[in-house]
């Protein structure tokens, strides 16, 4: 029985049916199909909520192996990571309004979240100084366009010269639209092509491809 259930044809068929139902519902107004597609979408929303927990298992496997191997410079942090996670989770599952949980998330999590996200600001400045050279026409256009947007975004651009925000606004609202529209369009073409391949069972990466 499990040999039959393991067959990849069943998975590919299921994927195709489920995706096809959603496509059919969009293009043809058949109430029964719409009802089934809606039910399946609700199922997927529930399944997606379970998916968040998968990251925990993977993270724990990595960090437990660090602790077992006593990886130099890493294993004490792995113990801290797992211990702090267990403590916070237990407290949070008991009561999210509890002072320790509330304080930790409003101060520790928010601070670290914004800080780690902001760290790339330093790197982009360093990259602009070291790598942003107009070696050819394409690079020059990229730099000029970027600078005009900078002068449009910062009110100081208008203080330097009234024309800068006008030019920057033109680049944002008109100049870049053609190129961005293309990137949107070709991304959609790629998405549709990939989607058709997936629904027809030609793409197998999502389930491991065995």
């Amino acid at each position: 029985m499990s040999n039959v259930l393991r067959r990849r044809e069943i998975i590919l068929f299921l994927t195709g049916i489920v995706g096809g139902l959603n496509l059919f519902e969009y293009f043809f107004a058949v109430k029964e199909v719409a009802a089934v597609a809606s039910t399946i979408r609700t199922w997927v929303v529930v399944i997606s909520a379970f998916a968040l927990g998968l990251g925990i298992i993977t993270a724990f496997r990595v960090h437990i192996s660090h602790v077992k191997r006593r990886t130099k410079g890493q294993w004490p942090f792995s113990i801290w990571l797992m211990g702090f996670f267990v403590l916070l989770t237990l407290i949070g599952l008991w009561d999210t309004k509890f002072i320790v949980y509330d304080w930790t998330f409003k101060n520790v999590y928010v601070a670290l979240s914004t800080t780690l996200y902001a760290i790339t600001g330093f790197y982009i400045f360093s990259a602009a100084y070291r790598a942003f050279r107009a070696r050819n026409i394409e690079a020059a256009i990229l730099i000029i366009s970027g600078v005009l947007i900078l002068l449009r975004n910062a009110p100081i651009g208008e203080a330097i010269w009234k024309g800068f925000p006008v030019l920057g606004e033109w680049v944002l609202m008109k100049g870049q639209v053609g190129g961005m529209r293309t990137l949107t369009f070709v991304a959609a073409v790629g998405l549709v092509a990939f989607g058709i391949r997936t629904l027809l069972g030609m793409e197998r990466g999502y389930y491991g491809g065995e």
């Binding site: 979408r41 914004t114 996200y117 602009a128 070291r130 790598a131 910062a154 009110p155 100081i156």
Partner: protein
């Protein structure tokens, strides 16, 4: 390095020694930590000594304001949080300003989101817009449904059947006991979607709420979402771009706050970037000339 690394050690030529002493080459090799400190200090200066330049309002932000100005107590707006606390410095000013405007217009508000830390964001908004607790009655004037997983699937399913996805609000109150949610069953019951976005959720709303159901959608996005301009004005009512959009909206509602304060730092940092790019290119040209 100004020159390619050598595989074998040898004495540098006179010409190479001259080039390496050149100021442009030295500038190109400056330790990146110096650059980081320069940026760090430069960002601090405008907070200590504010510049206070006015922020002109742009068309796409004004469009969002004008749309909300047409709404009133009979309308329902959806406030969708698709951004995490990590993006607060960019999107918090816009979120607070928009919420203040909605409350001023007495628009009914349904809020939900797709990020696990959005409860902290909602708490932040409530603390900055206390009218949500003092003027509005929870359950009748506004509701917060909480987090839902599923990305595009959730957005699409919410468009066709909200009650199939949410059985209760964030606080556990069954959806049948929320009077406002008896008016909201599908996307067509919403008059305006305001999506606070750091990624692809605006596309999901355009695909399934705007194109699918004809609902007006506006974006409150990070600056990198400015490429959504391609959907304006056909699919999007308006686009608020990052902290600049927040500062513009604060000016429109007549209540300057965090976004406006932050624009001073934006001014300094952007000028610093332009100087850095200019120096990089001047140095590149000078080094190339010297090589020739």
């Amino acid at each position: 390095m100004a020159y390619e690394p050598y595989l074998e050690w040898r004495e540098a030529t006179t010409e190479e020694n001259e080039m390496s002493k050149n100021i442009w080459s030295k500038m190109a090799e400056v330790d990146r930590r110096v650059l980081y400190w320069v940026m760090f200090i430069a960002l601090a200066i405008p907070f200590i000594s504010p510049i206070g330049l006015p922020v002109p309002v742009t068309e796409t932000t004004k469009a969002v304001y004008d749309k909300i100005d047409t709404l009133g107590p009979k309308n329902i707006a959806l406030f969708s949080i698709a951004g995490g606390v990590s993006a607060w410095p960019e999107i918090a000013p816009s979120m607070v300003a928009i919420m203040r405007h909605l409350v001023k217009r007495e628009v009914k508000i349904v809020a939900w989101g797709f990020f696990v830390d959005q409860d902290i964001t909602m708490d932040m908004i409530i603390s900055n817009v206390p009218e949500l607790k003092t003027k509005y009655k929870y359950g009748e004037d506004w509701v917060y449904m909480g987090y839902i997983a599923g990305a595009e699937t959730a957005v699409a399913q919410l468009a066709s059947d909200v009650h199939a996805v949410f059985k209760a609000d964030k606080y556990g109150t069954p959806i049948e006991k929320l009077p406002l949610m008896q008016r909201v069953k599908t996307a067509k019951d919403i008059d305006l979607v305001l999506t606070v976005d750091t990624g692809s959720y605006i596309l999901y709303y355009i695909r399934h709420w705007n194109v699918g159901k004809g609902v007006a959608v506006a974006e409150i996005g990070i600056a990198m979402q400015a490429d959504m301009i391609v959907y304006y004005p056909v699919n999007l009512v308006g686009v608020m771009i990052g902290v600049r959009g927040g500062a513009e909206y604060e000016k429109l509602i007549g209540r300057l706050a965090e976004g406006t304060v932050r624009m001073d730092a934006i001014n300094v940092s952007h000028i610093l970037f332009i100087i850095a790019i200019a120096l990089a290119n001047i140095g590149y040209v000078m080094v190339r000339r010297m090589k020739k």
